[in-house]
Protein backbone atom coordinates (compact mmCIF):
# COMPACT_ATOMS: atom_id res chain seq x y z
CA UNK A 1 0.00 0.00 0.00
CA UNK A 2 2.73 2.43 0.90
CA UNK A 3 4.62 1.37 -2.20
CA UNK A 4 1.83 2.20 -4.63
CA UNK A 5 1.19 5.37 -2.73
CA UNK A 6 4.81 6.41 -2.98
CA UNK A 7 4.87 5.73 -6.70
CA UNK A 8 2.37 8.50 -7.31
CA UNK A 9 4.27 11.06 -5.29
CA UNK A 10 7.06 12.90 -7.03
CA UNK A 11 9.90 12.17 -4.76
CA UNK A 12 12.99 14.25 -5.47
CA UNK A 13 12.50 15.94 -2.13
CA UNK A 14 12.08 12.70 -0.20
CA UNK A 15 14.18 13.01 2.88
CA UNK A 16 17.06 10.61 3.11
CA UNK A 17 17.37 11.16 6.84
CA UNK A 18 16.20 8.46 9.16
CA UNK A 19 12.76 9.27 10.51
CA UNK A 20 12.83 11.41 13.61
CA UNK A 21 12.28 9.48 16.80
CA UNK A 22 13.93 6.32 15.49
CA UNK A 23 16.57 6.47 18.18
CA UNK A 24 13.91 6.62 20.85
CA UNK A 25 12.19 3.43 19.68
CA UNK A 26 15.37 1.45 19.05
CA UNK A 27 15.53 -0.04 22.58
CA UNK A 28 11.95 -1.25 22.22
CA UNK A 29 12.70 -2.72 18.80
CA UNK A 30 15.85 -4.37 20.05
CA UNK A 31 13.98 -5.90 22.95
CA UNK A 32 11.22 -7.22 20.70
CA UNK A 33 13.81 -8.59 18.29
CA UNK A 34 15.73 -10.42 21.01
CA UNK A 35 12.92 -11.80 23.13
CA UNK A 36 10.21 -12.27 20.52
CA UNK A 37 11.31 -12.32 16.88
CA UNK A 38 14.38 -14.52 17.30
CA UNK A 39 12.69 -17.24 19.38
CA UNK A 40 9.70 -17.28 17.04
CA UNK A 41 12.00 -17.63 14.04
CA UNK A 42 13.86 -20.42 15.79
CA UNK A 43 10.64 -22.31 16.43
CA UNK A 44 9.49 -21.79 12.85
CA UNK A 45 12.84 -23.04 11.58
CA UNK A 46 12.37 -26.21 13.60
CA UNK A 47 9.11 -26.79 11.77
CA UNK A 48 11.02 -27.32 8.52
CA UNK A 49 14.13 -28.92 10.04
CA UNK A 50 12.81 -31.45 12.59
CA UNK A 51 12.99 -34.38 12.61
CA UNK A 52 14.53 -33.91 9.15
CA UNK A 53 14.55 -31.06 6.62
CA UNK A 54 11.34 -30.86 4.64
CA UNK A 55 7.69 -30.00 4.89
CA UNK A 56 6.59 -33.22 6.62
CA UNK A 57 5.33 -31.34 9.68
CA UNK A 58 3.01 -29.24 7.55
CA UNK A 59 1.90 -32.32 5.67
CA UNK A 60 1.18 -34.02 9.00
CA UNK A 61 -0.73 -31.01 10.28
CA UNK A 62 -3.00 -30.73 7.27
CA UNK A 63 -3.42 -34.49 6.90
CA UNK A 64 -4.75 -34.86 10.44
CA UNK A 65 -8.48 -34.44 10.83
CA UNK A 66 -7.89 -33.79 14.54
CA UNK A 67 -5.57 -30.85 13.93
CA UNK A 68 -7.86 -29.40 11.28
CA UNK A 69 -10.76 -29.74 13.68
CA UNK A 70 -8.76 -27.92 16.35
CA UNK A 71 -7.99 -25.16 13.84
CA UNK A 72 -11.68 -24.95 12.98
CA UNK A 73 -12.59 -24.79 16.70
CA UNK A 74 -10.14 -21.97 17.15
CA UNK A 75 -11.86 -19.87 14.51
CA UNK A 76 -15.32 -20.82 15.69
CA UNK A 77 -14.56 -19.72 19.25
CA UNK A 78 -12.77 -16.53 18.18
CA UNK A 79 -15.63 -15.56 15.86
CA UNK A 80 -18.33 -16.35 18.43
CA UNK A 81 -16.53 -14.35 21.10
CA UNK A 82 -16.03 -11.44 18.71
CA UNK A 83 -19.73 -11.28 17.82
CA UNK A 84 -20.73 -11.58 21.47
CA UNK A 85 -18.37 -8.78 22.56
CA UNK A 86 -19.72 -6.48 19.82
CA UNK A 87 -23.33 -7.13 20.86
CA UNK A 88 -22.62 -6.72 24.58
CA UNK A 89 -19.94 -4.06 24.30
CA UNK A 90 -21.74 -1.63 22.02
CA UNK A 91 -24.46 -0.58 24.50
CA UNK A 92 -21.87 -0.27 27.27
CA UNK A 93 -19.59 1.90 25.14
CA UNK A 94 -22.54 4.02 24.12
CA UNK A 95 -23.69 4.44 27.72
CA UNK A 96 -20.14 5.33 28.79
CA UNK A 97 -20.06 8.05 26.15
CA UNK A 98 -23.38 9.69 26.93
CA UNK A 99 -24.00 8.99 30.62
CA UNK A 100 -23.59 11.80 33.16
CA UNK A 101 -20.14 12.08 34.72
CA UNK A 102 -20.66 10.05 37.88
CA UNK A 103 -22.29 7.05 36.18
CA UNK A 104 -19.85 7.07 33.34
CA UNK A 105 -16.88 7.18 35.72
CA UNK A 106 -18.35 4.39 37.84
CA UNK A 107 -18.95 2.08 34.88
CA UNK A 108 -15.54 2.92 33.49
CA UNK A 109 -13.98 1.92 36.79
CA UNK A 110 -15.87 -1.40 36.70
CA UNK A 111 -14.64 -2.14 33.18
CA UNK A 112 -11.04 -1.24 33.94
CA UNK A 113 -11.01 -2.93 37.33
CA UNK A 114 -12.03 -6.24 35.80
CA UNK A 115 -9.06 -5.93 33.45
CA UNK A 116 -6.71 -5.47 36.39
CA UNK A 117 -7.89 -8.51 38.26
CA UNK A 118 -5.82 -11.63 37.82
CA UNK A 119 -6.90 -13.62 34.77
CA UNK A 120 -6.64 -16.97 36.50
CA UNK A 121 -8.72 -15.77 39.45
CA UNK A 122 -11.42 -14.53 37.11
CA UNK A 123 -11.46 -17.78 35.18
CA UNK A 124 -11.72 -19.82 38.38
CA UNK A 125 -14.57 -17.58 39.49
CA UNK A 126 -16.42 -18.56 36.32
CA UNK A 127 -15.78 -22.21 37.07
CA UNK A 128 -17.44 -21.78 40.45
CA UNK A 129 -20.44 -20.11 38.84
CA UNK A 130 -20.86 -22.37 35.82
CA UNK A 131 -20.19 -25.88 37.00
CA UNK A 132 -22.91 -28.47 37.53
CA UNK A 133 -22.91 -27.88 41.25
CA UNK A 134 -22.25 -24.17 40.72
CA UNK A 135 -24.23 -21.14 41.77
CA UNK A 136 -26.20 -20.75 38.55
CA UNK A 137 -27.28 -24.37 38.23
CA UNK A 138 -28.09 -24.66 41.93
CA UNK A 139 -30.22 -21.52 41.90
CA UNK A 140 -32.13 -22.61 38.83
CA UNK A 141 -32.70 -26.07 40.30
CA UNK A 142 -33.83 -24.67 43.65
CA UNK A 143 -36.29 -22.46 41.84
CA UNK A 144 -37.59 -25.56 40.10
CA UNK A 145 -36.85 -24.15 36.65
CA UNK A 146 -34.69 -27.10 35.65
CA UNK A 147 -34.44 -30.64 36.98
CA UNK A 148 -31.02 -31.49 35.55
CA UNK A 149 -28.00 -29.16 35.70
CA UNK A 150 -27.42 -27.26 32.45
CA UNK A 151 -24.11 -28.08 30.74
CA UNK A 152 -22.45 -24.67 31.07
CA UNK A 153 -18.84 -25.73 31.47
CA UNK A 154 -16.32 -27.98 29.72
CA UNK A 155 -17.91 -27.08 26.42
CA UNK A 156 -18.24 -24.27 23.90
CA UNK A 157 -20.75 -22.42 26.09
CA UNK A 158 -18.30 -22.15 28.97
CA UNK A 159 -15.44 -20.98 26.75
CA UNK A 160 -17.63 -18.39 25.07
CA UNK A 161 -18.95 -16.97 28.34
CA UNK A 162 -15.53 -16.82 29.98
CA UNK A 163 -13.69 -15.35 27.01
CA UNK A 164 -16.40 -12.85 26.14
CA UNK A 165 -16.18 -11.48 29.65
CA UNK A 166 -12.39 -11.24 29.48
CA UNK A 167 -12.36 -9.65 26.02
CA UNK A 168 -15.14 -7.12 26.63
CA UNK A 169 -12.85 -4.23 27.70
CA UNK A 170 -10.86 -4.61 24.48
CA UNK A 171 -14.05 -3.96 22.57
CA UNK A 172 -15.52 -1.31 24.83
CA UNK A 173 -12.47 0.96 25.02
CA UNK A 174 -11.87 1.58 21.29
CA UNK A 175 -15.59 1.73 20.66
CA UNK A 176 -16.06 4.26 23.43
CA UNK A 177 -13.34 6.45 21.96
CA UNK A 178 -15.05 6.35 18.56
CA UNK A 179 -18.51 7.10 19.91
CA UNK A 180 -17.26 10.02 21.97
CA UNK A 181 -15.77 11.63 18.90
CA UNK A 182 -19.16 11.70 17.16
CA UNK A 183 -20.81 15.11 17.21
CA UNK A 184 -24.16 14.56 19.02
CA UNK A 185 -25.85 17.05 16.73
CA UNK A 186 -25.77 14.54 13.87
CA UNK A 187 -28.43 12.53 15.71
CA UNK A 188 -30.55 15.65 16.15
CA UNK A 189 -30.13 16.33 12.48
CA UNK A 190 -31.21 12.79 11.67
CA UNK A 191 -34.37 13.02 13.74
CA UNK A 192 -35.13 16.48 12.35
CA UNK A 193 -34.94 14.96 8.90
CA UNK A 194 -37.56 12.43 9.97
CA UNK A 195 -35.38 9.41 10.76
CA UNK A 196 -36.84 6.89 13.18
CA UNK A 197 -34.65 5.74 16.07
CA UNK A 198 -33.82 2.57 14.18
CA UNK A 199 -32.91 4.53 11.06
CA UNK A 200 -30.75 6.92 13.07
CA UNK A 201 -28.98 3.90 14.50
CA UNK A 202 -28.45 2.00 11.26
CA UNK A 203 -27.88 4.92 8.89
CA UNK A 204 -25.94 7.30 11.16
CA UNK A 205 -24.61 5.61 14.27
CA UNK A 206 -23.38 2.36 12.73
CA UNK A 207 -21.50 3.89 9.79
CA UNK A 208 -19.86 6.42 12.08
CA UNK A 209 -18.76 3.76 14.56
CA UNK A 210 -17.72 1.17 11.97
CA UNK A 211 -14.01 1.87 12.37
CA UNK A 212 -14.29 1.54 16.16
CA UNK A 213 -16.18 -1.74 15.86
CA UNK A 214 -13.63 -2.99 13.35
CA UNK A 215 -10.69 -2.02 15.55
CA UNK A 216 -12.23 -3.69 18.61
CA UNK A 217 -13.30 -6.75 16.65
CA UNK A 218 -9.84 -7.20 15.18
CA UNK A 219 -8.20 -6.95 18.57
CA UNK A 220 -10.66 -9.37 20.19
CA UNK A 221 -10.56 -11.84 17.30
CA UNK A 222 -6.78 -11.95 17.08
CA UNK A 223 -6.31 -12.19 20.85
CA UNK A 224 -8.91 -14.95 21.02
CA UNK A 225 -7.14 -16.97 18.31
CA UNK A 226 -4.11 -17.43 20.53
CA UNK A 227 -5.89 -17.74 23.86
CA UNK A 228 -4.86 -20.46 26.25
CA UNK A 229 -5.83 -20.38 29.92
CA UNK A 230 -9.55 -19.74 29.71
CA UNK A 231 -10.30 -22.36 27.03
CA UNK A 232 -8.12 -24.84 28.89
CA UNK A 233 -10.09 -24.37 32.11
CA UNK A 234 -13.63 -23.73 30.90
CA UNK A 235 -13.62 -25.78 27.69
CA UNK A 236 -13.74 -29.51 27.14
CA UNK A 237 -11.14 -31.53 25.32
CA UNK A 238 -13.44 -31.85 22.31
CA UNK A 239 -13.38 -28.11 21.66
CA UNK A 240 -9.69 -27.65 22.16
CA UNK A 241 -8.11 -24.57 20.60
CA UNK A 242 -4.81 -24.34 18.72
CA UNK A 243 -2.85 -22.70 21.56
CA UNK A 244 -3.61 -25.65 23.80
CA UNK A 245 -2.58 -28.09 21.10
CA UNK A 246 0.73 -26.23 20.68
CA UNK A 247 1.29 -26.34 24.43
CA UNK A 248 0.70 -30.11 24.44
CA UNK A 249 3.14 -30.59 21.56
CA UNK A 250 5.80 -28.47 23.23
CA UNK A 251 5.44 -29.55 26.85
CA UNK A 252 4.15 -33.07 26.80
CA UNK A 253 5.04 -34.66 23.46
CA UNK A 254 8.22 -32.61 22.90
CA UNK A 255 7.37 -32.54 19.19
CA UNK A 256 8.64 -29.05 18.45
CA UNK A 257 8.67 -29.47 14.70
CA UNK A 258 4.94 -30.02 14.59
CA UNK A 259 4.41 -27.31 17.23
CA UNK A 260 6.32 -24.88 15.03
CA UNK A 261 4.18 -25.81 12.04
CA UNK A 262 0.98 -25.26 14.03
CA UNK A 263 2.31 -21.92 15.29
CA UNK A 264 3.16 -20.78 11.76
CA UNK A 265 -0.28 -21.74 10.48
CA UNK A 266 -1.82 -19.63 13.24
CA UNK A 267 0.55 -16.73 12.57
CA UNK A 268 -0.09 -16.72 8.81
CA UNK A 269 -3.83 -16.79 9.30
CA UNK A 270 -3.67 -13.99 11.86
CA UNK A 271 -1.54 -11.80 9.60
CA UNK A 272 -3.87 -12.48 6.69
CA UNK A 273 -6.84 -11.31 8.74
CA UNK A 274 -4.91 -8.25 9.82
CA UNK A 275 -4.09 -7.44 6.19
CA UNK A 276 -7.73 -7.77 5.16
CA UNK A 277 -8.73 -5.51 8.02
CA UNK A 278 -6.16 -2.86 7.02
CA UNK A 279 -7.39 -3.03 3.45
CA UNK A 280 -11.01 -2.36 4.35
CA UNK A 281 -10.90 -0.28 7.49
CA UNK A 282 -7.28 0.94 7.47
CA UNK A 283 -6.26 3.20 10.26
CA UNK A 284 -6.33 6.50 8.39
CA UNK A 285 -4.25 6.36 5.26
CA UNK A 286 -4.60 2.82 3.98
CA UNK A 287 -7.68 3.62 1.94
CA UNK A 288 -6.73 5.67 -1.07
Amino acid sequence: MTLSHAAHVPSPARPRRLPAGLAAVTPAFALVAVVFVLPVLALLLRSVLEPEPGLQNYAAFFASTTYLKVLGNTFLVAATVTVATVLLGFPVAWFLAIAPGFWSRLLFAVVILSMWTNLLARTYAWMVLLQRTGLINRTLMNLGLISEPLPLINNLVGVTIGMTYIMLPFMILPLHATIRSIDPSVFQAASLCGASRWQAFTRVMLPLTATGIAAGALMVFVMSLGYFITPALLGGTSNMMLAELIAQLVQSLLDWGLAGAAALVLLVVTLAIYAVQLRFFGFGQARS
Binding site: T26, K69, Q248, S252
Partner: protein, 346 residues
Protein backbone atom coordinates in the same frame (compact mmCIF):
# COMPACT_ATOMS: atom_id res chain seq x y z
CA UNK B 1 22.92 7.81 5.58
CA UNK B 2 24.48 10.89 7.05
CA UNK B 3 27.16 10.70 9.69
CA UNK B 4 25.01 12.13 12.45
CA UNK B 5 22.28 9.64 11.71
CA UNK B 6 24.78 6.85 11.89
CA UNK B 7 25.99 8.08 15.24
CA UNK B 8 22.49 8.37 16.55
CA UNK B 9 21.66 4.83 15.52
CA UNK B 10 24.91 3.53 16.96
CA UNK B 11 24.24 5.27 20.27
CA UNK B 12 20.74 3.88 20.42
CA UNK B 13 21.99 0.34 19.80
CA UNK B 14 24.73 0.75 22.38
CA UNK B 15 22.14 1.99 24.85
CA UNK B 16 19.85 -0.97 24.28
CA UNK B 17 22.79 -3.36 24.54
CA UNK B 18 23.63 -1.73 27.87
CA UNK B 19 20.15 -2.37 29.20
CA UNK B 20 20.16 -6.00 28.14
CA UNK B 21 23.73 -6.45 29.43
CA UNK B 22 22.85 -4.96 32.81
CA UNK B 23 20.08 -7.51 33.15
CA UNK B 24 22.45 -10.41 32.45
CA UNK B 25 25.04 -9.02 34.87
CA UNK B 26 22.54 -9.01 37.71
CA UNK B 27 21.64 -12.63 37.02
CA UNK B 28 25.27 -13.75 37.02
CA UNK B 29 26.13 -11.90 40.22
CA UNK B 30 23.68 -13.93 42.32
CA UNK B 31 25.26 -16.25 44.85
CA UNK B 32 25.83 -19.98 44.43
CA UNK B 33 22.74 -22.07 45.04
CA UNK B 34 20.96 -24.97 43.45
CA UNK B 35 17.56 -24.73 41.84
CA UNK B 36 14.95 -27.37 42.60
CA UNK B 37 11.92 -27.62 40.31
CA UNK B 38 8.75 -29.51 41.12
CA UNK B 39 4.99 -29.33 40.63
CA UNK B 40 4.00 -26.73 43.19
CA UNK B 41 1.10 -27.10 45.62
CA UNK B 42 1.12 -29.16 48.80
CA UNK B 43 3.65 -31.62 47.34
CA UNK B 44 6.38 -29.07 46.69
CA UNK B 45 5.71 -27.40 50.05
CA UNK B 46 6.55 -30.70 51.72
CA UNK B 47 9.64 -31.21 49.53
CA UNK B 48 10.88 -27.79 50.56
CA UNK B 49 10.29 -28.38 54.25
CA UNK B 50 11.54 -31.96 54.42
CA UNK B 51 14.43 -31.96 51.93
CA UNK B 52 15.56 -28.45 51.02
CA UNK B 53 15.61 -26.89 54.47
CA UNK B 54 17.53 -29.73 56.20
CA UNK B 55 19.91 -29.83 53.19
CA UNK B 56 20.69 -26.13 53.49
CA UNK B 57 21.22 -26.50 57.23
CA UNK B 58 23.74 -29.32 56.69
CA UNK B 59 25.64 -28.07 53.65
CA UNK B 60 25.13 -24.31 53.64
CA UNK B 61 24.00 -24.57 50.01
CA UNK B 62 20.81 -22.63 49.41
CA UNK B 63 17.97 -24.27 47.48
CA UNK B 64 15.83 -22.10 45.27
CA UNK B 65 12.37 -23.40 44.50
CA UNK B 66 11.11 -23.15 40.94
CA UNK B 67 8.20 -24.67 39.06
CA UNK B 68 6.05 -26.07 37.76
CA UNK B 69 7.98 -28.82 36.01
CA UNK B 70 7.80 -28.31 32.27
CA UNK B 71 9.34 -30.98 30.02
CA UNK B 72 9.54 -28.55 27.11
CA UNK B 73 11.55 -26.12 29.20
CA UNK B 74 13.86 -28.86 30.41
CA UNK B 75 14.57 -29.96 26.85
CA UNK B 76 15.11 -26.36 25.74
CA UNK B 77 17.62 -25.75 28.56
CA UNK B 78 19.65 -28.85 27.77
CA UNK B 79 19.68 -28.12 24.03
CA UNK B 80 20.73 -24.50 24.48
CA UNK B 81 23.41 -25.48 27.01
CA UNK B 82 22.00 -22.97 29.49
CA UNK B 83 20.61 -25.17 32.23
CA UNK B 84 19.03 -23.25 35.10
CA UNK B 85 17.54 -26.25 36.88
CA UNK B 86 19.76 -28.54 38.94
CA UNK B 87 17.22 -31.04 40.26
CA UNK B 88 13.83 -31.65 38.68
CA UNK B 89 10.88 -33.74 39.87
CA UNK B 90 9.45 -35.57 36.82
CA UNK B 91 7.10 -38.46 36.11
CA UNK B 92 8.80 -41.83 35.79
CA UNK B 93 7.87 -42.43 32.16
CA UNK B 94 9.42 -39.10 31.21
CA UNK B 95 12.54 -39.88 33.25
CA UNK B 96 13.03 -43.07 31.26
CA UNK B 97 12.40 -41.39 27.91
CA UNK B 98 14.64 -38.42 28.75
CA UNK B 99 17.49 -40.70 29.77
CA UNK B 100 17.22 -42.41 26.40
CA UNK B 101 17.29 -39.03 24.62
CA UNK B 102 20.44 -38.00 26.50
CA UNK B 103 18.80 -35.20 28.46
CA UNK B 104 19.97 -36.37 31.89
CA UNK B 105 23.17 -36.61 33.92
CA UNK B 106 23.94 -40.09 35.27
CA UNK B 107 23.35 -40.36 39.03
CA UNK B 108 26.51 -40.47 41.14
CA UNK B 109 25.92 -43.53 43.32
CA UNK B 110 29.10 -42.73 45.22
CA UNK B 111 27.03 -39.95 46.80
CA UNK B 112 23.53 -41.45 46.66
CA UNK B 113 23.11 -44.73 48.53
CA UNK B 114 21.51 -47.01 45.95
CA UNK B 115 21.34 -49.96 48.32
CA UNK B 116 18.67 -48.31 50.48
CA UNK B 117 16.32 -47.57 47.60
CA UNK B 118 13.42 -49.69 46.39
CA UNK B 119 14.84 -51.12 43.13
CA UNK B 120 11.56 -50.33 41.33
CA UNK B 121 12.29 -46.65 41.75
CA UNK B 122 15.91 -46.18 40.86
CA UNK B 123 17.70 -46.19 37.50
CA UNK B 124 21.10 -45.05 36.27
CA UNK B 125 19.72 -41.59 35.51
CA UNK B 126 17.00 -41.06 38.10
CA UNK B 127 16.19 -41.75 41.73
CA UNK B 128 12.69 -41.98 43.14
CA UNK B 129 11.19 -38.83 44.55
CA UNK B 130 8.21 -40.59 46.06
CA UNK B 131 5.84 -43.24 44.93
CA UNK B 132 2.13 -42.92 44.70
CA UNK B 133 -0.93 -44.83 43.72
CA UNK B 134 -3.75 -43.90 41.45
CA UNK B 135 -6.76 -44.85 43.55
CA UNK B 136 -10.50 -44.81 43.16
CA UNK B 137 -11.88 -41.82 45.03
CA UNK B 138 -15.50 -40.89 45.56
CA UNK B 139 -17.69 -38.41 47.34
CA UNK B 140 -20.02 -40.35 49.69
CA UNK B 141 -22.35 -37.38 50.11
CA UNK B 142 -23.07 -37.33 46.35
CA UNK B 143 -23.19 -41.07 45.71
CA UNK B 144 -25.39 -42.04 48.65
CA UNK B 145 -25.43 -45.54 50.16
CA UNK B 146 -23.56 -47.47 47.51
CA UNK B 147 -19.77 -47.36 47.53
CA UNK B 148 -17.88 -48.15 44.32
CA UNK B 149 -15.15 -50.77 44.72
CA UNK B 150 -13.17 -51.14 41.53
CA UNK B 151 -12.57 -49.55 38.14
CA UNK B 152 -15.45 -51.43 36.52
CA UNK B 153 -17.74 -49.52 38.90
CA UNK B 154 -16.31 -46.22 37.65
CA UNK B 155 -17.36 -47.18 34.13
CA UNK B 156 -20.84 -48.18 35.31
CA UNK B 157 -22.86 -45.02 34.78
CA UNK B 158 -26.15 -46.76 35.66
CA UNK B 159 -25.11 -47.80 39.15
CA UNK B 160 -23.09 -44.64 39.75
CA UNK B 161 -24.54 -41.78 37.73
CA UNK B 162 -22.80 -38.40 37.42
CA UNK B 163 -19.56 -37.16 35.97
CA UNK B 164 -16.35 -39.06 36.52
CA UNK B 165 -12.91 -37.51 36.49
CA UNK B 166 -9.60 -38.78 35.13
CA UNK B 167 -6.06 -37.46 34.62
CA UNK B 168 -6.03 -35.30 31.51
CA UNK B 169 -2.49 -35.74 30.21
CA UNK B 170 -1.11 -38.66 28.30
CA UNK B 171 0.54 -40.71 31.03
CA UNK B 172 0.42 -44.17 32.55
CA UNK B 173 -2.89 -44.77 34.31
CA UNK B 174 -6.14 -44.09 32.47
CA UNK B 175 -5.62 -46.59 29.64
CA UNK B 176 -4.74 -49.29 32.16
CA UNK B 177 -7.87 -48.39 34.17
CA UNK B 178 -10.05 -48.73 31.06
CA UNK B 179 -8.60 -52.15 30.29
CA UNK B 180 -9.02 -53.36 33.87
CA UNK B 181 -12.62 -52.14 33.81
CA UNK B 182 -13.12 -54.08 30.59
CA UNK B 183 -12.00 -57.26 32.28
CA UNK B 184 -8.36 -57.56 31.24
CA UNK B 185 -6.45 -59.41 34.00
CA UNK B 186 -3.75 -57.36 35.70
CA UNK B 187 -0.93 -59.61 34.49
CA UNK B 188 -2.11 -59.32 30.85
CA UNK B 189 -2.18 -55.50 30.70
CA UNK B 190 1.04 -55.07 28.75
CA UNK B 191 1.54 -54.49 25.91
CA UNK B 192 -1.55 -52.26 26.12
CA UNK B 193 -4.38 -53.04 23.75
CA UNK B 194 -4.94 -49.43 22.77
CA UNK B 195 -7.92 -50.09 20.49
CA UNK B 196 -9.72 -51.88 23.27
CA UNK B 197 -8.84 -49.20 25.85
CA UNK B 198 -10.11 -46.32 23.72
CA UNK B 199 -13.23 -48.27 22.83
CA UNK B 200 -13.96 -48.76 26.52
CA UNK B 201 -13.29 -45.06 27.22
CA UNK B 202 -15.66 -44.12 24.39
CA UNK B 203 -18.52 -45.68 26.38
CA UNK B 204 -18.27 -42.96 29.06
CA UNK B 205 -16.53 -40.19 27.15
CA UNK B 206 -19.36 -37.67 27.48
CA UNK B 207 -19.41 -38.24 31.26
CA UNK B 208 -15.71 -37.52 31.75
CA UNK B 209 -14.39 -34.30 33.24
CA UNK B 210 -10.60 -34.21 32.99
CA UNK B 211 -8.37 -32.92 35.75
CA UNK B 212 -5.09 -31.34 34.75
CA UNK B 213 -3.72 -30.55 38.21
CA UNK B 214 -4.00 -32.17 41.61
CA UNK B 215 -5.76 -29.13 43.02
CA UNK B 216 -8.39 -29.38 40.31
CA UNK B 217 -9.01 -33.04 41.10
CA UNK B 218 -9.60 -32.13 44.75
CA UNK B 219 -12.01 -29.37 43.82
CA UNK B 220 -14.00 -31.60 41.45
CA UNK B 221 -14.41 -34.32 44.06
CA UNK B 222 -15.11 -32.13 47.09
CA UNK B 223 -17.74 -30.05 45.28
CA UNK B 224 -19.46 -33.15 43.97
CA UNK B 225 -18.93 -31.87 40.43
CA UNK B 226 -17.43 -35.26 39.63
CA UNK B 227 -18.31 -37.55 42.53
CA UNK B 228 -16.14 -40.46 41.38
CA UNK B 229 -12.86 -40.94 39.58
CA UNK B 230 -9.14 -41.57 39.52
CA UNK B 231 -6.93 -39.64 41.96
CA UNK B 232 -3.41 -39.42 43.31
CA UNK B 233 -3.66 -40.98 46.75
CA UNK B 234 -1.77 -38.05 48.33
CA UNK B 235 -4.36 -35.56 47.13
CA UNK B 236 -7.17 -37.56 48.73
CA UNK B 237 -5.06 -37.80 51.88
CA UNK B 238 -4.75 -34.00 51.88
CA UNK B 239 -8.52 -33.63 51.39
CA UNK B 240 -9.17 -35.91 54.36
CA UNK B 241 -6.66 -33.97 56.45
CA UNK B 242 -8.61 -30.80 55.68
CA UNK B 243 -11.78 -32.40 57.06
CA UNK B 244 -13.58 -33.41 53.85
CA UNK B 245 -15.43 -36.70 53.81
CA UNK B 246 -13.80 -38.77 51.09
CA UNK B 247 -14.27 -42.37 50.05
CA UNK B 248 -11.22 -44.31 48.86
CA UNK B 249 -10.99 -47.77 47.36
CA UNK B 250 -7.50 -49.24 47.11
CA UNK B 251 -8.69 -52.18 45.02
CA UNK B 252 -6.57 -52.37 41.83
CA UNK B 253 -4.54 -49.33 42.90
CA UNK B 254 -1.93 -48.48 40.31
CA UNK B 255 1.52 -47.47 41.44
CA UNK B 256 3.76 -45.05 39.67
CA UNK B 257 6.53 -42.80 40.83
CA UNK B 258 7.89 -39.35 40.50
CA UNK B 259 11.61 -39.34 39.91
CA UNK B 260 14.32 -36.81 40.67
CA UNK B 261 16.64 -36.10 37.77
CA UNK B 262 19.59 -33.82 37.05
CA UNK B 263 19.40 -32.27 33.57
CA UNK B 264 22.46 -32.74 31.37
CA UNK B 265 24.81 -29.80 31.81
CA UNK B 266 23.34 -28.66 35.14
CA UNK B 267 25.56 -25.93 36.56
CA UNK B 268 25.82 -27.40 40.06
CA UNK B 269 26.01 -31.09 39.34
CA UNK B 270 27.91 -32.08 42.50
CA UNK B 271 25.66 -30.11 44.84
CA UNK B 272 22.66 -31.58 43.01
CA UNK B 273 23.89 -35.11 43.76
CA UNK B 274 24.27 -34.19 47.43
CA UNK B 275 20.71 -32.90 47.37
CA UNK B 276 19.51 -36.20 45.90
CA UNK B 277 21.28 -38.03 48.72
CA UNK B 278 19.44 -35.92 51.27
CA UNK B 279 16.07 -36.23 49.52
CA UNK B 280 16.29 -40.03 49.28
CA UNK B 281 17.76 -40.52 52.77
CA UNK B 282 15.71 -42.57 55.24
CA UNK B 283 14.86 -39.42 57.24
CA UNK B 284 14.09 -37.21 54.24
CA UNK B 285 11.80 -39.83 52.74
CA UNK B 286 10.11 -40.56 56.08
CA UNK B 287 9.25 -36.95 56.88
CA UNK B 288 8.10 -36.23 53.33
CA UNK B 289 5.87 -39.31 53.33
CA UNK B 290 4.40 -38.28 56.69
CA UNK B 291 3.51 -34.84 55.34
CA UNK B 292 2.27 -35.86 51.89
CA UNK B 293 0.63 -39.28 52.19
CA UNK B 294 2.88 -40.60 49.41
CA UNK B 295 5.06 -43.63 50.02
CA UNK B 296 8.82 -43.44 50.62
CA UNK B 297 11.24 -44.93 48.06
CA UNK B 298 13.76 -45.64 50.81
CA UNK B 299 13.14 -49.04 52.37
CA UNK B 300 14.40 -47.85 55.78
CA UNK B 301 11.91 -44.99 56.07
CA UNK B 302 8.78 -46.83 57.19
CA UNK B 303 10.36 -47.67 60.54
CA UNK B 304 10.90 -43.96 61.20
CA UNK B 305 7.27 -42.96 60.59
CA UNK B 306 4.24 -42.71 62.91
CA UNK B 307 2.34 -46.02 62.77
CA UNK B 308 -1.06 -44.59 61.81
CA UNK B 309 0.43 -42.65 58.90
CA UNK B 310 2.45 -45.58 57.64
CA UNK B 311 -0.71 -47.71 57.63
CA UNK B 312 -2.34 -45.45 55.05
CA UNK B 313 0.48 -45.41 52.53
CA UNK B 314 0.36 -47.10 49.12
CA UNK B 315 2.92 -49.67 50.27
CA UNK B 316 0.33 -51.04 52.72
CA UNK B 317 -2.16 -51.82 49.94
CA UNK B 318 -0.28 -54.38 47.91
CA UNK B 319 -2.85 -57.20 47.70
CA UNK B 320 -4.43 -56.11 44.40
CA UNK B 321 -1.80 -53.51 43.59
CA UNK B 322 -0.60 -53.13 40.00
CA UNK B 323 2.71 -51.59 39.01
CA UNK B 324 2.40 -49.38 35.95
CA UNK B 325 5.05 -50.47 33.47
CA UNK B 326 7.36 -47.50 33.00
CA UNK B 327 9.68 -49.29 30.59
CA UNK B 328 6.73 -49.97 28.29
CA UNK B 329 5.61 -46.35 28.57
CA UNK B 330 9.08 -44.96 27.94
CA UNK B 331 9.24 -46.94 24.70
CA UNK B 332 5.75 -45.96 23.51
CA UNK B 333 5.30 -42.51 25.05
CA UNK B 334 5.21 -40.50 21.81
CA UNK B 335 3.00 -42.83 19.86
CA UNK B 336 0.45 -43.17 22.68
CA UNK B 337 0.56 -39.44 23.37
CA UNK B 338 -0.33 -38.51 19.80
CA UNK B 339 -3.21 -40.94 19.77
CA UNK B 340 -4.39 -39.90 23.25
CA UNK B 341 -4.68 -36.20 22.41
CA UNK B 342 -6.26 -36.90 19.04
CA UNK B 343 -8.84 -39.11 20.74
CA UNK B 344 -9.56 -36.43 23.36
CA UNK B 345 -10.06 -33.74 20.74
CA UNK B 346 -12.33 -35.91 18.60
Amino acid sequence: MSRSNGMRLAKAIAFSALIVGAGLGVAAAQSQAIVFTSWGGTTQDAQKKDWAEPFTKKTGIAVKQDGPTDYGKLKAMVESGNVDWDVVDVEADFAAAAAKDGLLEPIDFGVVNRGDLDPRFVTDHAVGSFYYSFVLGFNPASLGEKAPRNWADVFDTKAFPGKRTFYKWSAPGVLEIALLADGVPADKLYPLDLDRAFKKLDTIKSDIVWWGTGAQSQQLLASGEAPIGQFWNGRLFALEQSGEKVGVSWEQNLTAADMLVVPKGAKNREAAMQFLAEATSPEGQASFATDSGYAPVNVKSAALMPKDVAANLPDQHTSSQINLDMAYWAAHRDEIGKRWYAWQAK
